[in-house]
Amino acid sequence: MSGLDWAPRFPPLLPTAVAADGEAAARLVAEAWAGVAQGRRFALDDAPEGVVVVRVLDGGAVPWVDGCVPLGTCPLAPALLLPTARQPRAPLALLVQALRAPVGEDGVLVLLPGPSLRCLTLAAPWPLVQP
């Protein structure tokens, strides 16, 4: 799939999840566990391509580590997680339709900015529960 043009989004979306890959993914998971130890409620998605997505379940702030991408949803596409600060230069409804076609109606899609299009499908998240 070819790349997608992105533009800054202002005001940003309300962050409800955060994604990270590589070394940042490990730090993000650790940060989420640290939050759980303090009573926060998160769910973890082990997405394809080594990406980890942490979703906020208690309405509080998203965890932060250097290199993470805060994600949010916009009313036009509630089942699509987008970077809070960037928006694709494409009609969102058409984009969602195109991205949904191969994966069906189930699950949440994550669209990450980058030189090539990165659209990941999230299945069932695992709630993080304090051992």
Binding site: P11, P15, D66
Partner: protein
């Protein structure tokens, strides 16, 4: 000379807002109003830091402050001073204003609209004319700014004249959940005494400079903005519009300009009289005030213009106060700041000064972790 004065006021604002969470814009608008010679009405529920913000600004500028919580049975003497009974026996009506509102540089009147007609009429005279007169007492009032507070705007038409004297309207609410850790972190932390010498004089220098600011370049954009606001249903009387020019002059003076430009019309939003009007104005104004620029009043500009440049400026300003302040919870505050930056700006879109500040904050966090 005005550069020195602005530096003094910058230091005063830094002192006033140290440990005051989420009220930077209010402090800046009080300062703007003091420079403009206008007054501020703060509307919001009790316990939202209204009086603390006024106290902090007044304390940081070094002026005499008069603060009073008005009630239905408050007597005029409680604000303006008692009648001198010895002189009254000789048939002379004179008021002893020592330490009372007529001698104050800054005034904070909580629950203003609960005051009696006698109090409100006298106050109207003080705010309109800058004089307090009663019997043989005729005092020129040194008041730089009067800040009034109420929980709701008055609906009584009889109070409208007084409410209208308060050109700047600020609506405050409880802090958002995301800032509760900061609020709890500063609770009970003692403030260091501040050195205020020369700051009141600096304020007066800027007041003089503001009166001399050339408005000719800003009047076109200002009229354009008002037309847009009125088209959007934002009520803005001719009187408030004309007086708003003093705020524009003050904004220019505080930005170091002798000629007001499009970058200085942002205070217009604060002149919109109701919360609804300000919310409507917020939708219209960003396009018109996107050039808003005022390094000294960056929080107020960010609240008004709400544009990415203004937000970046506010974040950079916040970063300066974040590091090495010795307060507990620095790691949480640094992470909160970095989260705010990353939520609002992708790596490709960050202005350079914000990117530099972010790099410094990440490095600072690494040393603490």
């Amino acid at each position: 000379m005005t550069a020195d004065a602005r530096a003094q006021l910058r230091a005063a604002l830094d002192d006033a807002t140290a440990g005051l969470i989420g009220r930077n814009a209010l402090c800046e608008l009080i300062l703007l109003s003091a420079v403009a010679g206008e007054h501020v009405l703060v509307v919001g529920p009790p316990g939202t830091g209204k009086s603390e913000a006024v106290r902090q600004v007044a304390g940081a500028l070094g002026g005499r402050t008069f603060e009073y919580l008005l009630g239905r049975f408050t007597e005029p003497a409680e604000l303006f001073g008692p009648v001198d009974l010895r002189k009254l026996r000789d048939g002379v009506l004179e008021v002893d204003t020592t330490g009372m509102l007529p001698e104050a540089d800054f005034a904070f009147l909580d629950e203003l609209f609960l005051g009696s007609t006698a109090i409100l009429n006298t106050l109207l005279g003080v705010l309109n004319e800058g004089h307090y007169r009663r019997g043989r007492t005729d005092v020129q009032v040194p008041l730089r700014v009067c800040v009034a507070a109420c929980n709701h705007l008055p609906e009584d038409v009889a109070l409208a004249a007084l409410a209208d004297r308060f050109l700047v309207r600020v609506f405050v609410d409880a802090l958002p959940d995301s800032r509760l850790e900061e609020l709890l972190g500063v609770a009970g932390v003692a403030r260091a005494p501040v050195e205020t010498a020369g700051r009141l004089a600096a304020l007066d220098v800027l007041r003089g400079a503001a009166r001399g600011v050339d408005l000719s370049e800003a009047q076109g954009p200002l009229a354009e903005a008002v037309r847009s606001l009125r088209a959007e249903g934002v009520p803005l009387s001719d009187r408030r519009l004309v007086r708003s020019q003093r705020l524009v002059q003050a904004a220019a003076a505080l930005a170091g300009r002798t000629v007001a430009t499009r970058a200085d019309i942002w205070p217009l939003l604060c002149v919109a009289p109701t919360l609804l009007a300000q919310e409507r104005a917020r939708k219209v104004l960003p396009a018109l005030v996107k050039h808003a620029d005022n390094a000294l009043l960056d929080h107020a500009v960010a609240e008004v213009s709400d544009g990415p440049e203004a937000l970046a400026g506010r974040l950079v300003a916040e970063s300066r106060a974040l590091t090495a302040d010795g307060r507990p919870g620095e790691v949480a505050r640094l992470k909160g700041w970095l989260r705010d930056v990353d939520v609002a700006f992708g790596p490709e879109d960050r202005p350079k000064d914000l990117d530099d500040a972010r790099t410094a904050m990440v490095a600072r966090l690494e040393t603490l972790s």
